[in-house]
């Protein structure tokens, strides 16, 4: 625990100037990125089909999630779709249950179930 204290004191010493400067550089990076896309042509409407095997999978998943052991309970599984060349790939991603993504997805699911 003493080590933690050491770390905190160090943190307090972080030069304000350096931090402010990093802050500015970061904003600039963000701005620059957005600005570089300002004149990008309107993209085609997002037309990514959801693979059949993943459709409606959430019920199954949430059900299994509940069966999982304690330290997995604070996680929710999502599938990340990526592309390799023209091939679609899927990867499983564990998202903390209290993240916005998990919370809003659960809310949606509950709303749907009630319908």
């Amino acid at each position: 625990e003493e080590d933690v204290v050491v770390l905190k004191t160090k943190q307090d010493q972080v030069s304000k100037e350096e931090d402010d400067e990093f802050e500015r550089e970061f904003s600039r990076m963000m701005n620059e990125s957005m600005e570089s896309r300002k004149f990008e042509k309107k993209s085609a409407v997002l037309d990514v089909p959801i693979p059949m095997n993943l459709r409606g999978a959430q019920d199954r998943r949430t059900a299994t999630a509940q069966e999982k052991d304690n330290h997995q309970q604070d996680k929710m599984s999502f599938t990340l779709l990526t592309k390799k060349g023209n091939r679609q790939q899927t990867r499983t991603m564990e998202v903390p249950s209290d993240s916005i993504l998990a919370v809003s997805t659960r809310t949606k699911q509950e709303a749907e179930r009630e319908e």
Binding site: D20, F22, E23, F26, S27, M34, S36, K42, V48
Partner: protein
């Protein structure tokens, strides 16, 4: 033992270990695609995670996950368009499944989701959150791992990134090596001799020049869309939108040179240099570039252009040369000035001159007592400083001094200032006294509109009627665009002779400090020099006009307002940001202060006078003259047109990623502006001052979309940084402070000189929007808040129902430096 274990561990770090701290858990690190270095997602002692620190510092944007990470070897990219800029990427969820994809914010996620779409774009969330990758994408290393890792500070990170730019093999250990971290020798108060002076300031100027060069040359902008036009002089003009300007670092000025290149397929590769004739303003964000060359311009093409800055070393070369001349040429300045500039103790000297009977100059306003005193004491002294607080008639005083100096002394007076605007203003005033004034501008600015174009050297050459042959050639050149080689040679020599004649016949020559290094001026000798805005020039810049033989020099400025702008932080820290004026004040030369201000309503000058001028500022203007009775505005105390309007809205990061914007303040700002305009105030007479570019553009936009009056009215309202308002005035000023954050500082607002400038721009009224809880932690702002509270001018509530605010201030921290 522990130390030995640590070193072995470091030696054995795998390739994918964080280049900063050594953490190497595959789930916690990512690879920067641009430089193939690995970084972890822990913050350590810094305010952003290591990988974000790296991307920002190195300006890299693409990353790849580790093969053994949960998601496997994956390059993060937009599913739709393939964009790999992580600052633009985010997740969107499917509407009804636990499936997500990565999409770029612009344009892919900007398409609103339609009913039949599987995806919910409104739920887009950025990959980078709180300066860190989403922790479920790249794991934060455990506390244990972090404790055992190398503890690197943000300062070390900065230096390491700098090192990598020169040597990509550099490591943290290299930071310890001698020479790497050498801060330049700081400026001194006193110098042994001019060689020592040159040896200390020369390297600082070099650092600033290198930095400026690097910065300018890195500013290439691709994918520029051009709209073509032809000017009255038949030259091609390219109009385009220049996104880099939004970022604030690069300041584009009229007269700057840019290179326009075409690399598309519809025309052969082409490039040309031109100079900027219009910069973005409230009316349009477009830049206009007038091209120098007129052949083969691809006017049929509009897309695929690139723009580069053309860096010129001229101004830095002239500073270096001035310092060298100061050192090697004994006649560059008088002995007295030589020693005074170096900070040596010398007996005071009085110049033998015949004093004038009247101190006011013809056709200029009568001088007041402190102005007369200033003029009087300057005329007989070889070196003097005049401090002109806001609105005290600095320009009239300077012009009157120049008038007398020109009448009393042989030879011409050289009049300089760091900025073209200030030179123009002063040139015009001096011209009014009946003196013969020549305004010399840089060649690149000759085609630009100027309020004093009739005084410019090139215009006087054009209009001169003594040399018929030169006139013929000028006419010919205008008609044909160019001359034959022999005619061109003749034209040049005749023009030079004509210029020489005009300069020699002048009483006063006006140019910028850097302009004084122009060979046409630098060949001449000037016994008498006046430098206006001297506190805004760096010391080497001030030397350029001084070393042309000066025996009598007058520096005018105000060291309580903003100083010179130095971009390179090391050079600034070493003291390049201190003006010569300021150093001379520290050396004990007392500036003569102009004491009567004619700008501000007396209630507005009270605080700045007490805080920055020891209470000496008197009002040359009465309350009555600065009250607008028929203006219906809810000032809490009607005869005291000032208020601090409590705004507790949070500062935030805007949707475009810009930090430091404050919606509450922007919305109230619009309401106040609208109220002023409804009360009959011209939009051109209202200024909005805000320290952050993010807030500036947000306010401009907000007023356009939400203002209840005609849109074009809001366009005429100037919204700008404090620095842009220096030297100018408006009837009403609204100051939007923006910062409202418990943890961080108040940034730019903590500089007392910047606050002074912000508070002293308004003639009739000031409204400050800010969060007293946060601002009062800062001692200077605490004083300001107490002042407003005591006057009954600290209010909150709705604009049409303001109440005196009961908000408690925070306890101020001890020092504000």
């Amino acid at each position: 033992d522990a130390v030995a274990a640590e070193t072995t561990e470091e030696r054995d770090l795998p390739e994918h270990a964080c280049n900063y701290c050594g953490i190497h858990a595959p789930a916690s690190v990512v690879k920067c695609v641009a430089c193939s270095r690995w970084f972890c997602n822990s913050r350590g002692n810094t305010s952003g995670s290591h990988i974000i620190n790296h991307l920002v510092r190195a300006k890299h944007k693409e990353v790849m996950l580790h093969p053994e990470s949960p998601l496997g070897e994956t390059v993060l990219e937009c599913y739709n368009c393939g964009c790999r800029n992580v600052f633009l990427l985010g997740f969107i969820p499917a509407k009804s499944d636990t499936v997500v994809v990565l999409l770029c914010r612009q344009p892919c996620a900007a398409v609103p989701s339609s009913k039949d779409m599987n995806w919910d774009t409104s739920q887009w969330m950025p990959l980078i959150d709180d300066r860190c990758f989403l922790t479920w994408l790249v794991k934060i290393p455990s506390e244990q791992e972090q404790l055992r890792a190398r503890q690197i500070t943000s300062q070390q990170i900065n230096k390491l990134e700098e090192l990598w730019k020169e040597n990509s093999e550099a490591t943290l250990e290299d930071l310890e090596k001698p020479g790497v971290d050498d801060e330049p020798h700081p400026v001194l108060l006193r110098y042994e001799d001019a060689y020592q002076y040159q040896n200390i300031l020369g390297p600082l100027v070099k650092m600033e020049a290198d930095y400026d060069k690097k910065l300018k040359e890195s500013q290439t902008c691709d994918d520029i869309i051009v709209r073509w036009d032809v000017g009255l002089n038949q030259k091609n003009i390219a109009w385009f939108y220049f996104p880099k300007l939004e970022m604030g670092e690069v300041k584009l000025a009229v007269g700057d040179e840019l290179r326009l290149r075409y690399r598309g397929e519809l025309h052969e590769p082409w490039e040309a240099v031109g100079h900027v004739i219009k910069i973005p303003n409230n009316v349009s964000d477009e830049v206009a570039l007038e091209l120098r060359r007129t052949d083969k311009v691809p006017v049929e093409c509009t897309h695929n252009f690139s723009v580069d800055f053309v860096w010129k070393s001229t101004s830095f070369d002239r500073m270096q040369l001035a310092m060298k001349t100061f050192a090697v040429d004994e006649t560059s300045v008088s002995g007295y000035i030589y020693h005074r500039l170096l900070g040596h103790d010398v007996e005071p000297q009085v110049l033998k001159t015949q004093m004038p009977k009247r101190f006011s100059a013809p056709n200029l306003p009568e001088l007041n007592h402190s102005q007369v005193y200033a003029v009087k004491s300057v005329l007989q002294k070889p070196l003097s400083l005049i401090q002109g607080p806001p609105g005290t008639g600095k320009t009239v005083t300077s012009a009157s001094i120049v008038y007398h100096l020109a009448k009393m002394n042989p030879g011409q007076v050289l009049v300089c200032a760091p900025s073209n605007v200030a030179v123009d203003q002063l040139a015009e005033k001096i011209h009014q006294t009946g003196l013969k004034v020549v305004r010399l501008t840089a060649k690149s600015r000759e085609e630009l509109d100027s309020p004093v174009s009739f005084l410019t050297l090139h215009e006087q050459v054009r209009n001169n009627d003594t040399n018929v042959e030169l006139q013929k050639l000028i006419q010919l050149k205008r008609e044909q665009g160019e001359l034959s080689a022999s005619d061109e040679k003749k034209y040049k020599s005749l023009k030079r002779a004509c210029e020489r004649e005009i300069l020699q016949n002048a009483d006063v020559i006006c140019c910028t400090c850097v302009g004084a290094g122009d060979p046409r001026v630098a060949k001449l000798r000037f016994r008498t020099v006046l430098i206006d805005e001297a506190t805004q020039a760096s010391e080497p810049e001030c030397m350029i006009p001084l070393i042309l033989g000066s025996k009598q020099a007058v520096l005018v400025g105000d060291h309580q307002q903003l100083g010179p702008v130095i971009m390179n932080k090391k050079a600034a820290r070493a003291g390049l940001c201190q003006s010569l004026f300021e150093r001379l004040v520290i050396l004990g030369i007392r500036p003569i202060r102009l004491q009567v201000q004619y700008r501000m309503h007396p209630c507005l000058s009270e605080f700045p006078s007490n805080m920055f001028y020891e209470g000496t500022l008197q009002n040359g203007i009465t309350t009555q003259e600065r009250l607008r009775k028929n203006v219906d505005f809810p000032w809490p105390v009607p005869e005291t047109p000032m208020m601090f309007y409590v705004n507790l809205g949070n500062e935030e990061i805007s949707t475009s990623g810009t930090s430091y914007l404050n919606r509450t303040e922007a919305s109230n700002c619009e309401k106040i502006v609208t109220r002023f305009m409804k009360a009959g105030i011209l939009p051109s007479q209202i200024g909005v001052v805000t320290p952050y570019e993010g807030q500036r553009s947000y306010i401009v936009q907000y007023m356009q979309f939400n203002g209840s009056l005609r849109k074009d009215l809001y366009k005429e309202i100037e919204v700008a940084s404090v620095d842009a308002f220096q030297g100018r005035e408006k009837d009403y000023i609204i100051l939007s402070c923006v910062r409202s954050n418990e943890h961080q500082g108040i940034g730019f607002l903590s500089d007392p000189r910047r606050l002074n400038v912000a508070l002293t721009r308004a003639k009739y009224g000031v409204v400050i929007l800010g969060n007293p809880k946060i601002l009062s932690k800062h001692p200077l702002w605490h004083h300001l808040l107490v002042h407003y509270k005591e006057k009954g001018c600290l209010v909150d509530g709705a604009l049409n129902n303001l109440r005196v605010s009961m908000i408690q201030f925070s306890r101020p921290r001890k020092s504000y430096r």
